[in-house]
Symmetry: C2
C-alpha cells in the first residue's frame, strides 16, 4: 500500500527499532511503503534528527540509490546517570544481603524495565565495535546477557556448571574460583558458538572475577576474542583476578552485620570517558 | 522543546513501544513535547491507524483532557503463521535430537530475533487479560520468560531445582515428574512473587508436563492463579498431566533412530481460534 509520510515515519521507527545494527536498504523501504527512494531519504533525515535529539540512538544514513540506514541504540550520559542512580537506590537495602556477601538482585533482573536499560547502557560502550556474541554463566547472568544481546542484535550463549542439562557435545575448561580457590569446571555447547567469535562477557554480579576468567579461557578454546567484560554489580574484594571490566554499580556488603553500601560503578569512565569508543558526538 | 508533528510521531512511537500495556496520559505527552493536547490527540489517531494497518499492536486511546493512550503489542495471524513456519523449518533437523528425546533449541532461544517474536506471539493470547508475572523453570525456560515478560511489561520469576543458588528464603513444593515418576523438589524465592498474583507459566519444552504441574502447585502456595500455560515446543507423549496449554510447535522425536518430525503446535486454535480472548477485530 502506498503510504503517507506520517504513516511511514511511525512504521519506519518501529521497523528500525526492531532491527538494531542492521543495514536496511532504501530499496527495502521503498518496496515496503511503495514510495520513491527520494521520499524515503527525506523520512530518514527526520528520523535521524529525532533519534539524535531524543537520545534514542545513532541512525547512520548511507546516501544514494544503493544506500540505506542502520540504527544503533545508545544511552546518553545524563540518562545513564539517572538510571544508575535509580539502580543504586533500589539495591541500597540491607535486606538484600545474602549469605556469603552476595546480594539479592533477582527482582530487579526480572523486570523488563530495568533489563532494557541495563542492556542499552552496556551496549553503548560497543557502539562502534563489532560483536558476534554475548556470553554469560547460568543462571543469574542469563537475563543480563539476553538484554544486552537484544540491543546488539547478536546471539547470547550460556556457560554451565552442571552437566545434567543435555546440550549435545560440549567444550569445557577448568577454572579456579576467585576467592575460595576451588577448582571448578564450566562448559559450553559446541554448536552454540562459532569458532573465532568476538565475544562480550556479561554477568549479574562479580566478586573476585573467577567465573569471568573461566569464561575468558573458554572463549580462547573456541579460538575467539574477548571484546569486553561488563557486570551489573561488582562487589568489594581484596584482590580481583581480572583488571579490565565495566560495572554499573559497586556494592560493599558486610556479611557479619548485614550492612550494605552501594554506589555507582566505573561505567561513567569506561563508557563515557575520554577516548571511549562510544563517544557520542554532536553529529550522532 | 516544542516539536514538529513529524518529530513527535517518531518519538511517540518509540515511547509507546518501550512501554507496553502502560497508560500514558495526554498530559505526559503534552509536557514531553510542549504541545497542545489537541495536537497530541491528532498524533495518536495517526499512530493508532498505522499500528493497526501494520499489525504492530492495539493502541487504545482514551479521549478527552483526562485521556491518554495504551499500547498493547500483538501479532496478527498471518505473521504468526509465517513465523511458526520458520520455527518449524529451523527445528526440523535430525542433528537436534538429544538423548532422552529432548531437542536442542538453545541456539534459537539465544537469538533475540526469535525470542522477540516468540514473546509477541505468546503475549497475543493475553491481549485483553491482566497478568502480574511470568513464571518459568531454570535454566532453559528463562529466555522465553524474559521475552514474554517484556511484551507484557511484567516481571518474570525463575523456579529452581538446585538449592545451591542463594536467593534468600524460599517457598518449595514437591512434584512428580511426568514420565519417570520421580519425586523432585522445586522452589521459588519468597520475595520474588507477591501473594495472590495472576501468573502465566511458560517453558521452552514440554513433555508430559510434570514440571509445569509443579509450577502450578507452587503458584497455589503463593495463593496465586494460573492464567495460562505456553511452551515453545511440545513433545509427543502417551499421556500428558496437564490438559490446557498453548504450544508453538509440536516435535516428535525417536531417540532410537534420531528421526525428528516437526509441525505447528496448537497455537492457531488457542490464540486465534473462535472465542479466543485475543480476537483482533478490524477496529483494533
Amino acid at each position: 500500500m502506498k503510504t503517507r509520510r506520517s504513516d511511514r515515519l511511525v512504521d519506519m521507527t518501529r521497523y528500525l527499532l526492531e532491527r538494531p545494527r542492521t543495514l536496511v536498504s532504501l530499496t527495502q523501504f521503498a518496496e515496503l511503503y511503495e514510495s520513491a527512494k527520494s521520499s524515503i531519504s527525506e523520512d530518514l533525515t527526520i528520523l535521524k534528527r529525532t533519534f539524535h535529539e531524543r537520545g534514542i540512538g545513532l541512525l547512520e544514513t548511507i546516501p544514494g540509490a544503493a544506500g540505506g540506514a542502520r540504527f544503533t541504540p545508545y544511552m546518553v550520559e545524563s540518562e545513564a546517570a539517572d538510571f544508575v542512580a535509580s539502580l543504586v537506590n533500589a539495591i541500597d537495602d540491607e535486606t538484600r544481603v545474602l549469605p556469603g556477601g552476595y546480594v539479592y538482585l533477582s527482582d530487579l533482573l526480572g523486570q523488563p524495565w530495568f533489563l532494557q536499560r541495563i542492556g542499552r547502557l552496556i551496549a553503548t560502550q560497543y557502539l562502534r565495535e563489532p560483536i558476534d556474541a554475548v556470553m554469560t554463566a547460568a543462571t543469574k547472568g542469563v537475563p543480563v546477557a539476553q538484554a544486552v544481546a537484544e540491543q546488539l542484535n547478536v546471539p547470547f550463549v550460556i556457560v554451565r556448571n552442571d552437566t545434567k542439562v543435555t546440550e549435545g557435545p560440549t567444550m569445557s575448561v577448568n577454572y579456579v574460583t576467585g576467592q575460595s580457590q576451588r577448582l571448578e569446571k564450566m562448559e559450553l555447547s559446541r554448536r552454540s558458538l562459532p569458532m573465532g567469535s568476538r565475544v562480550l562477557i556479561v554477568d549479574d554480579f562479580m566478586k573476585a572475577g573467577g567465573t569471568i576468567r573461566g569464561m575468558a579461557s573458554l572463549v580462547k578454546e573456541f579460538e575467539g576474542q574477548v571484546v569486553g567484560v561488563a557486570v551489573v554489580a561488582e562487589g568489594r574484594v581484596e584482590h580481583r583476578v581480572i583488571d579490565k571490566y565495566t560495572s554499573l554499580v559497586h556494592v560493599d556488603t558486610n556479611k557479619d552485620d548485614g550492612i550494605i553500601k552501594v554506589k555507582a560503578g566505573n561505567y561513567a569512565e569506561e563508557i563515557y570517558g575520554e577516548g571511549s569508543p562510544a563517544e557520542i558526538s554532536s553529529a550522532d
